[in-house]
């Protein structure tokens, strides 16, 4: 439906403004280098966007750090590159002050908190793994395994190059289902600012054919979260929205619905 395609487009076009500063301990110049400003797509991953930033800062750091992996921090929290940008933004910034202030580090890699990301290929295989996992939940993996590897490549390149049509030409197959049945399970993860994510099974419909809503998901898996904010793609979705609709329209390109649970302060 045309209306639905507009929603997919809006979600795809989501951007967040970021301002990246070099960690003071990492620059070997007297004054701090200029920060780097950029608009980053919510649906992308930081390692795909940081080539220019890295190059910008290399001039200001000592040569023995030049080969080190650059990692990002937001207000003391190391950012997990394998989460989509928008998820990290909703968890750690939420738009309280814009642009989102990040610090780039070239030393003291937090081995306990972050996975290493030596190349773009690592991001690609993480992404494809998530797509396969999601299809395992939605269709017992039948759609993704029946696709050709050029289709897999097209999904990935569509995301990398910010090509909506290229990506959705393939992704729409992963969203197929019988309207009266929906997916087998809804691929979702609930993220928290400071603890591991939660992933469980939930069906989009009850046995008597009623659509399961966001409210029911939250009641089942976050029973004590009353009053807390629940943010998906930067918005607080009405709690009576059916999960099946959300999965088709608000999932990230990895085909997971990423739900951010933000506790109320104090």
């Amino acid at each position: 439906m045309a209306e639905d395609r507009e929603i997919l487009r809006e979600v795809w076009d989501g951007r967040v403004p970021v301002c990246i500063q070099l960690a003071s301990e990492d620059h070997n110049t007297l004054s701090a280098p200029d920060p780097y400003y950029l608009m980053v797509p919510r649906l992308s991953y930081f390692p795909l966007l940081m080539d220019k930033v890295r190059k910008h800062f290399l001039r200001f750091i000592s040569p023995d750090l030049h080969e080190e992996e650059m990692w990002l921090e937001s207000d003391g929290m190391p950012l997990k590159w394998h989460y989509p940008v928008g998820v990290l933004f909703d968890l750690h910034c939420g738009g309280s002050s814009l642009p989102w202030a990040l610090t780039a580090h070239f030393s003291h890699f937090p081995e306990h908190d972050l996975i290493r990301c030596p190349s773009r290929e690592v991001v690609e295989s993480h992404f494809m793994s998530s797509v396969k996992e999601a299809d395992g939940l939605k269709h017992r993996g039948q759609i993704i395994t029946n696709m050709q590897s050029k289709d897999h490549k097209q999904l990935w390149m569509g995301l990398c190059n910010d090509k909506f049509d290229q990506f959705w030409a393939i992704n729409c197959k992963l969203m197929e289902c019988l309207p009266e049945e929906g997916f087998k399970f809804i691929p979702f993860r609930i993220h928290f600012p400071c603890q591991p994510s939660l992933q469980r099974l939930i069906k989009p419909q009850t046995d008597d054919g009623r659509k399961v809503t966001l409210e029911e998901l939250l009641q089942e898996f976050l029973p004590r979260g009353e009053g807390d904010r629940v943010v998906i793609q930067g918005i607080e979705v009405p709690r009576d929205t059916p999960l099946q609709w959300m999965s088709e329209h608000l999932s990230h390109p990895d085909n997971f619905l990423h739900i951010c649970h933000i506790p109320t302060q104090g």
Binding site: H82, I115, S129, E133, S197, R200
Partner: protein
């Protein structure tokens, strides 16, 4: 420094010791451990003991490190873990999350291999 060690880390318990700990349920193990079945794929060495009880809040990366130690591989050696013989979970994914979504017959099956098996 770990080379000398042939026994598994203490927080993994074998089936027999799990039965044993079941008796004193008041001990500081509030959550039931999860049975994880480790299966070799490709040219990966087979583990003599395949079924392990793992705390649900352990990460996948921790399980991979455990297999490396058990098989006496270097920490830099490649080791890939797969669920459903299809996807590789992120190293910081919790064993409990995978068990809840992909466990069957009361256990979680993980395939491990030293080269990428299922792209």
């Amino acid at each position: 420094m770990e080379e000398e060690k042939s026994s598994p880390p203490s927080d993994l318990t074998s089936e027999s010791s799990l039965e044993h700990t079941d008796h004193d349920s008041n001990k500081a193990t509030p959550l039931k451990k999860i049975d994880v079945l480790l299966k070799a794929t490709g040219d990966a060495p087979i583990m003599r003991k395949k079924k392990w009880a793992v705390e649900g809040d352990k990460r996948v990366g921790w399980v991979a490190d455990f297999i490396r130690k058990y098989l006496k591989l270097n920490s830099s050696d490649n080791l890939f873990l797969y669920v459903n013989q299809s996807f590789a979970p992120a190293p910081d994914q919790l064993v409990r999350n995978l068990y809840q979504c992909f466990g069957s017959d009361g256990k979680l099956v993980l395939h491990y291999c030293r080269t990428q098996a299922w792209g």
